[in-house]
């Protein structure tokens, strides 16, 4: 079972065999409201931790999605172009954004686990 880690920018990453699947959390989709457009990174792109790599646009706002880790994008969720609502319906499932092959797995240690993320969200009020 892959372990899910979280960022303070409300991205999640689930790593399996050195490849992490990245999306936004349920809290994030709730805050954004109905998602109407998603731009995912190109496959093959090298990304650095903290870099803005994708865009999510809702009826309220357009927001950048930041890379939780460094690496190379190996797959992007093309289905979101036609079904951006999946981000709202299944943020941790079919609403994933992209997959990244980690170049520095140690970066995961800087991210929050589920319990800490839940406490973090609670602290936001």
């Amino acid at each position: 079972m892959a372990k899910v880690k979280y960022t303070e920018e409300h991205e999640w990453i689930s790593v399996d065999n050195g490849v992490g699947t990245v999306g936004i959390t349920d809290y994030a989709q709730e805050q954004l409201g109905d998602v109407v457009f998603v731009e995912v990174p190109e496959v093959g792109r090298t990304i650095a931790r903290g870099e803005a790599v994708a865009v999510v646009e809702s009826v309220k706002a357009a927001s950048d999605i930041y890379a939780p880790v460094s690496g190379e994008v190996v797959e992007a969720n093309g289905t979101l172009a036609d079904a951006p609502g999946n981000v709202n319906l299944e943020p941790m499932g079919n609403g994933w954004f992209f997959k990244v092959r980690l170049s520095n797995p140690g970066e995961l240690d800087g991210l929050m686990d589920e319990a800490r993320y839940e406490a973090f969200v609670k602290s936001l009020g």
């Binding site: 457009f37 309220k60 609502g85």
Partner: protein, 531 residues
């Protein structure tokens, strides 16, 4: 005039109201008439004018002759007049009532300005006619430029930018040109506080800069410590909006300016909210390098569909040589728009726009300045700030201000007062429509949860502000009383259209009207084809 409505039913529904609540057989509501597309009224054989049949001429078009009908609607004159009159009545405008859109400065457009702009000497000139025949118009540009540099305390101004964002681009291009000229072209980072206008990062990114956001403090100001930490040898500029989009004056602006200059970078100030400080504060004294001025906000020229914007940019001594062409120069007794000759520095960044800027807006803005005078402009800022603080003070009784203390020209609330009511900022805004008020700016700035940003402007009197506050307080009390969330979610109930499906409109926009194909012998009105 409003048809009878069974109010009890409005409370049952969710977002989509039951048709029985508000539908009529015609689709009209009271004397608010439904309006179709002009093509749907048209008949191919109808015409508003009698034209003689065209004479027979030799066809010289070769194979390029049109084969089918051109598809223009055929209409009688009354149909055309009614169509456009009805469309105009659908528009809510500053001429209709209070328009409290924060960050947009929807203020009254004095009719004196309009009258001046229609003087034949301004309205009937052409940009290509000899400059000797438009000396008065060029002098007007120079006079307006003088007012702008005097009010802002800046040495130079570029008049040609066509709107606020265009002005931002002009200013940032001047900064890029100045950096390149100094061999500092490697500076590619632009710092943009979260409390800045949304166009700022867009402008910087469009010009190839990398945007680095600077967080806001919990009291809605730029975090000066974080800003200083971000300064470095790769930073080209900071773009700061002052007063910022939280409606607050950036008190540390001098400290920011000094740090920017010491770091070899430039200071872009977004002047979209200049109406809050005009006549009171000279941006030149604050150490800014450039600032655009929205004539359509601060100086009351039409705005938001009412006319083109206009965004002159004032420039510091070190940016002035990079101002775009043309420059207004004085040769003896004559005025001239200088383009290529020695009157314009070689360092000029070139043209940003055809001709010389938005002439009609220049006339209106100068008319506004001259009719108010320097003391009147100062009072504009004072009254704008007073009005916003009056609204804030009254609404504080039921709504939750986003920040402590007084505001500038706009007051900002969060959705704290709606907590646990089941009513959102969006629902609240829609309910305002039912009460006869155009909603304020909502969900912006992003740093405030469920933001409601209200800018009453100085052109509203106390009576109008009181009526607005009464309606807002009523809605807030109603939301907090509980058991009315469904009613809010069903709003607006009395508008020509109920709650629109914004999600679907954004996900699957229908951008084109497609008529059904007209069959042979069928000259009836066109109907939209099913998508």
């Amino acid at each position: 005039m409003v048809q009878s409505i069974d109010r009890s039913q409005g409370r049952h529904g969710g977002v989509v109201p039951s048709p029985a609540v508000s539908e009529t057989s015609t689709g009209n509501r009271g004397l608010q008439l439904e309006e179709r597309l002009i093509f749907e009224y048209a008949h191919a054989d109808r015409s508003g004018v009698d034209l003689p049949p065209p004479p027979r001429v030799k066809d010289r078009l070769g194979g390029l002759r049109r084969r089918g009908a051109i598809g223009l609607p055929g209409l009688a004159e009354p149909q055309v007049v009614q169509h456009y009159t009805r469309l105009s009545q659908k528009n809510y405008a500053i001429d209709s009532g209070l328009y409290p859109l924060g960050s947009c400065t929807m203020k009254h457009n004095p009719r004196l300005n309009e009258r001046m702009a229609r003087l034949p000497g301004f309205a009937d000139v052409h940009p290509l006619q000899p400059q000797s025949t438009v000396q008065g118009a060029i002098e007007l540009i120079a006079t307006l430029a003088d007012w702008l540099t005097t009010l802002t305390g800046m040495p130079a101004v570029a008049m040609s930018p066509a709107a606020g964002a265009h002005g931002e681009m002009c200013g940032m291009m001047a900064i890029a040109a100045a950096l390149a000229a100094a061999g500092e072209g490697h500076r590619k980072i632009v710092l943009v506080p979260e409390s800045a206008h949304g166009t700022n990062p867009a402008t910087a990114a469009a010009l190839g800069f990398t945007v680095k956001p600077i967080p806001a403090t919990t009291d809605g100001h730029v975090d000066v410590a974080a800003f200083k930490a971000a300064l470095g040898p790769d930073v080209a500029a900071i773009m700061l909006t002052n007063p910022n989009t939280c409606g607050l004056f950036e008190r540390d602006i001098r400290e920011v300016a000094d740090a920017v200059r010491a770091a070899g970078a430039y200071f872009y100030c977004d002047g979209a909210n200049y109406n809050a400080i005009v006549g009171r504060v000279r941006p030149g004294d604050l150490g800014v390098d450039c600032m655009h001025i929205n004539l359509h906000k601060t100086f009351s020229t039409p705005h938001g569909g009412g006319g083109p914007g206009s965004g002159p940019v004032v420039l510091s001594e070190r940016l002035a040589p990079f101002a775009p062409r043309p420059w207004v120069v004085r040769d003896g007794d004559a005025w001239r728009l200088a383009e290529e000759d020695g009157a314009v520095a070689d360092t000029s960044l070139g043209r940003l726009k055809a001709f010389h800027g938005q002439m009609g807006m220049f006339v209106r803005a100068l008319a506004y300045m001259l009719s108010h005078g320097a003391d009147g402009l100062r009072q504009v800022a004072e009254d704008a700030v007073l009005n916003a603080n009056y609204v804030m003070a009254r609404l504080k009784a039921e709504l939750t201000p986003a920040f402590e203390g007084p505001c500038m020209h706009e007051c900002l609330f969060d959705d704290g007062f709606l907590k646990d009511t089941g009513v959102t900022t969006l629902d609240f805004a829609k309910a305002m429509i039912d009460e006869g008020y155009h909603p304020m700016t909502m969900y912006f700035p992003l740093v405030v949860h469920g933001a409601m940003l209200i800018e009453p402007t100085e052109t509203q009197g106390k009576h109008a502000l009181d009526e607005f506050c009464d309606a807002m307080l009523h809605l807030a009390r109603k939301a907090k009383s509980g058991a009315t969330a469904d009613e809010f979610r069903a709003a607006p109930r009395f508008a020509p259209r109920r709650r629109l499906d914004e999600t679907q409109a954004a996900r699957k926009p229908v951008l084109r009207w497609r008529p059904t194909n007209r069959g042979p012998g069928d000259d009836g009105p066109l109907r939209q084809a099913a998508e």
